[in-house]
Amino acid sequence: MTTDTAVADATAAEDGAQPPATPSRSRRRRRQLWIFLAPAVLLNLVWGWYPLATSFVLSFTDARLRGDVTFTGFESYERMINDPLVAQAFRVSIIFAVLSIVLTFVVPILVAILLMEMPRRTMRWMMLLWFLPLSSVGTAILWRYVYNTDYGLLQSIATGLGFDRQPFLNSSDQVLFWLVIPGLVLYGPGLIYLATLQSVPTSYYEAAEIEGAGFWRKIWTISLPRMRPVILMMLMFAVIGNLQQFEWPMLMTDGGPGGASRTAVMYVYDILNQLRYADATALSILLFALIMLVVAVMRFAIREDPDAPPRRSLRELVTRKGDH
């Protein structure tokens, strides 16, 4: 009931001194609160927490499609940890995430900053080009043709430039690199960066201009600091998303060659297809643990800088609203 009282307190603070609500009124408020919360709570329980809890339970059993289910303790976990393919899949996922962040994460930030420098009209057209919400399945299939070793676009460019014939996705050493590259043209985050930049008042840049700051200094002292929280959030999302990468390798290489691009989630999928539910859930839980660990480490590592203003609680924000 803590949320409930917090909300009540916040509204009380907002309204100033108010006679204490009568019991019937507060009961009605509470009922209203639950009516509004119900849809979200139900959906979350059914599609979020129920599967999570069940998989957690299943991972300690020998669940199969039919037959009795018996509790087997850590057997599935043991099996999974000793499975060499699991180690490989985790390695692939981690390398994929690192490569993708190193190679593609900065690009939309730069694009957004540069777009802001362009004339309005140009910017609008470029936005349309860069940030068009492309279907990633369609794009993936197109890229499969680009990478085709016999008649692909990239192969003809490579041979045209006088290189040897390239293996691209067929090389187990290069496959992850080539899988990450298409991420360069999918600019979902770019739009968010652009929106952040557009919310910076022009007077900031004008003040800096009057003081003689050049282009890069303005970026460094105004644009980037304003984007910082958004960048950190997008980084978190990128790490989480990439560690769960599934559809690109699935569509472009089907995990090949020889499992060199089989990510952790793909392996979960493979095991599920073999109807080994216990193993699949155990592997999912392992991946879940890894992601939680990475997120925790990131939260710890990228603390807000010590100079940053102290975080304000909701109640503080509400009560301070008046004195601007």
Binding site: Y204, E206, I210, P225
Partner: protein, 373 residues
């Protein structure tokens, strides 16, 4: 530093069109201004009149389509904003994010590769000038400061590098009323101390009067009139200027001049000789300020009959105001204390009345500032 603008015109490109839309009025329309060294000029006018554009143009953040801007004897058309030696204070303060107050003051010295010592010495100097508690603000992250505190830092950032021209764009409009009062007092003190030429943009007439040695009143991209408050108040060039100043509305009475008398509704008054000689017979409009009426007592026949709607007393100013109509025109008058009743008999004080053309808004006769001021 003396600032001179000669015939400056500026049009904005309309959003999405490549050509200048010729039917759109220019943001600045043939503006000429001459600001003396050390003078503070308030630029005031309704929103959208071009006052901020004017300021930004003087700063070099906008370029004029035609006309020239001179700083002393130099045409600054090709001088970048950072080389003009200006300090600008913005409406939203525009303090650099993620920097403490001190960092904001140091920014200029960083950009210009001056020494750390110089920056620190200057900041110290400014902190002494800015007064009590200012040094505390420098140690804080700017986002944690209140509006008034941010504004003080913004002003300090502006004076820390010894500008030769201050440009202020509604610097205190975002503060609450009490703080606005004390801040403008502080700013006026600073401006006096430094004697730097200043342009102060505001939409608040009181602020304009308080801050400015002279006031430039703008409308639709033009400077309608520039002068001291007395000049604008007692010798307005047109009805717009006359109605803009004064916290209580000017009464505008449509009247007719004929045979050295002026006729308004049922009332008629012989005109004083000075006015009678000057005014052509025909329709005019008379502007009378609330304090420029004479009362002929409650007896009928003494002037124009005012139907009183409401008597308002303003204790803080020891005033009694009567609101009502005279022959259909809305009138507010400063009435003697204790006035009551539904009817007042009024006569304009001809020495303080302004005459405007009936068909235009230009002034035909203005009273000029009273002698005893």
């Amino acid at each position: 530093m003396r600032i001179r603008l000669a015939d400056v015109t500026k049009r904005y490109l309309r959003e999405g069109s490549l050509r200048v839309a010729s039917d759109e009025p220019p943001a600045l329309d043939h503006i000429s201004l001459d600001i003396a060294d050390g003078e503070t000029v308030s630029v005031v006018g309704p929103s959208g009149c071009g006052k901020s554009t004017l300021l930004r143009l003087v700063a070099g953040l906008e370029t004029a389509d035609c006309g020239t801007v001179h700083y002393d004897e130099h045409d600054v058309a090709d001088v970048a904003p950072q080389d003009r030696g200006i300090g600008m204070v913005f409406q939203d303060y525009a303090l650099y994010p993620t920097m403490k107050g001190a960092g904001n003051l140091k920014y200029y010295f960083d950009v210009h590769r001056r020494t750390e010592d110089e920056a620190r010495a200057r900041a110290k100097e400014i902190a002494d000038i800015m007064g009590v508690g200012f040094e505390l603000l420098l140690g804080q992250q700017t986002t944690t400061l209140s509006g008034g505190e941010q504004q003080r830092v913004a002003i300090a950032r502006c004076i820390v590098r010894d500008p030769t021209l201050f440009l202020m764009d509604e610097p205190i409009v975002n503060l609450d009323a009490k703080l606005r009062e004390s801040t403008r007092m502080e700013m006026a003190k600073l401006l006096k101390r430094y004697g730097i030429t200043t342009m102060f943009v505001t939409h608040d007439q009181q602020e304009a009067v308080f801050m400015g040695d002279r006031i430039a009143l703008m409308r639709a991209g033009r400077v309608v009139q520039i002068g001291t408050f007395d000049e604008l108040y007692y010798s307005p060039v047109n009805l717009f200027v006359a109605t803009f100043f004064g916290s209580r509305p000017l009464a505008v009475l449509p009247a007719t001049v004929a045979d050295r008398t002026v006729r308004f509704g049922e009332a008629a008054w012989p005109l004083p000789a000075v006015l009678a000689d000057r005014l052509e017979p025909g329709p005019v409009r008379i502007g009378v300020r609330p304090e420029a009426w004479r009362f002929a007592g409650a007896e009928s026949g003494g002037g124009a009959r005012m139907a009183v709607d409401r008597i308002e007393s303003v204790p803080a100013e020891r005033l009694t105001l009567a609101h009502g109509t005279v022959s259909g025109a809305r009138v507010t008058v400063v009435a003697p204390a204790g006035t009551a009743g539904d009817v007042l008999w009024l006569t304009p004080d001809w020495e303080a009345a302004t005459f405007f053309a009936a068909d235009g808004e230009h002034a035909l006769h203005t009273p000029g500032a009273p002698e005893f001021f």
